[in-house]
Amino acid sequence: MKRQSSSLWTVFAMPGFIALLGALGLFAALLGDGGWDALAWVGLGLPAWYGLRGFFR
């Protein structure tokens, strides 16, 4: 039981982090320009980076 839940935690650690950062960025950019926008660029840039990197060895 314990082993299964810890492996689930490992599997979703990075995806969860990326998802949360993405949500934070999408919301932040609604609040202002400048730094708020930059948060969205990071939050959306991370998924774009990982997605594109998958095509290269």
Binding site: L8, L31, W41, P47, G51, G54
Partner: protein, 377 residues
């Protein structure tokens, strides 16, 4: 997870995706140019350009703009005046045969607030970008088209959620972002599908859900008319139709007094779906980044010019207002637009690889059962 549970989620994922994939592909493809519609309009020379004039050139009285508009399109009536945030001198003007004419049959152009000169907006009335927009919004099928796309959006959301559930059993033995390039093409695409699907999760969910909300906009507006607007204009229920409208010259000042600290977004003329038969409705937006997407209507009697009601903001109108930036990706500068496009293309790849994986698996199953039949025979 038990293997029977996995099988059940797997079939949910397979079927919700398969049903919505063609529509989602169309939405992702037509959405791509729409992300850059301002830039494309500029490139094609379709963007309205106002003449250079000294910065302190005074603006015309608003009623004069109405007269200019009517002279430009005789026989039509005013529906809306809207203000562009890029250039406050450009007044987007929408006219049609009757005030109640549906939006796709209206004509949109721009008036220079200083001279009353007409500047055409070709891409707002037809052409390539309008075709993209109509395909994206309703596939030229009106309300049924919008509702069908809203349903496809819901299936997309279910496909995403079931995909996340299935991510765990697939990735138990793999490190995050592993793509097995050296094994079979199926494994490579399976890994890419899982990787891109999981990293684009938030973006795809947000764009999916806000797309569904936007697709339901006709219903949202109808609800607003039935609840909010009907209550505000109840005293006018038996009033005779107006034969003459008071000039709109001071309408913006009147609205600004009624809703201090807010800016006008658009004026809906009497008889349009954003107003009553007897009112100018000035929709005011808040002055912070966030509240600029939330609109408060100020209803002004179109014959006495008295403010008769300041609307509340029902949650569903706020949800619709906030859905727009979150769906368009136009609120975070050029980098956000580019990332929006990249994530859109990545979504196309997830959709395509999903279909590929389904075909390959079906072929494998067919081969196995054929082999079994041979052995048994």
């Amino acid at each position: 997870m038990k293997s029977s549970t996995i099988r059940r989620w797997s079939s949910v994922h397979t079927w919700t995706s398969l049903i919505c994939t063609l529509f989602l592909l169309m939405l992702a493809l037509t959405g791509l140019p729409l992300i850059f519609h301002h830039e494309i309009d500029h490139l094609l020379g379709d963007a309205p350009e106002l003449k250079e004039m000294p910065a302190d050139t005074p603006k015309l009285d608003l009623q004069e703009l109405v007269l200019k508009a009517q002279a430009h399109r005789p026989g039509e009536v005013m529906q809306y005046f809207g203000w562009d945030e890029d250039d406050s001198n450009g007044v987007v003007t929408i006219m049609a045969a009757t005030a109640g004419t549906e939006p796709n049959s209206s004509h949109t152009f721009m008036l220079d607030a200083r001279s009353g000169d007409v500047v055409e907006m070709p891409s707002a009335n037809g052409g390539f970008m309008m075709t993209m927009l109509r395909l994206h919004v309703d596939m030229f099928a009106g309300l049924p088209g919008k509702l069908l796309l809203a349903f496809m959006g819901l299936l997309f959301v279910v496909a995403i959620i079931s995909g996340v559930v299935l991510y765990a059993p697939f990735m138990r033995r793999l490190k995050f972002a592993t793509v097995r390039h050296d094994k079979s093409s199926r494994l490579r695409w399976l890994d890419l599908h899982n990787l891109i699907g999981i990293v684009t999760l938030t973006w795809a969910l947000v764009v999916g859900v806000t797309g569904v909300i936007s697709a339901l906009s006709d219903l949202v507006i109808a609800a607003w008319r039935n609840e909010s607007l009907a209550a505000m204009v109840a005293p006018y229920r038996d009033a005779p139709p107006l034969t003459e409208l008071a000039p709109v010259s001071r309408v913006l000042d009147i609205a600004a007094d009624a809703a201090p600290g807010m800016q006008p977004d658009f004026i809906a003329f009497p008889g349009t779906r954003f107003s009553s038969e007897h009112h100018y409705a000035v929709f005011m937006k808040g002055s912070t980044h966030l509240t600029a997407h939330l609109l408060t209507p100020v209803l002004i009697d179109a014959s006495t010019l008295k403010v008769t009601a300041i609307g509340d903001r029902p949650w569903y109108m706020d949800a619709m207002g906030l859905s727009q930036p979150l769906h368009f990706g136009d609120y975070g500068g050029r980098p956000m637009q580019i990332l929006w496009a990249v994530l859109d293309v990545l979504t196309i790849i997830v959709l395509g690889s999903g279909v590929y994986l389904w075909v390959v698996r079906r072929r494998a199953i067919a081969t196995v059962s054929a082999a079994r039949a041979e052995v048994a025979g």
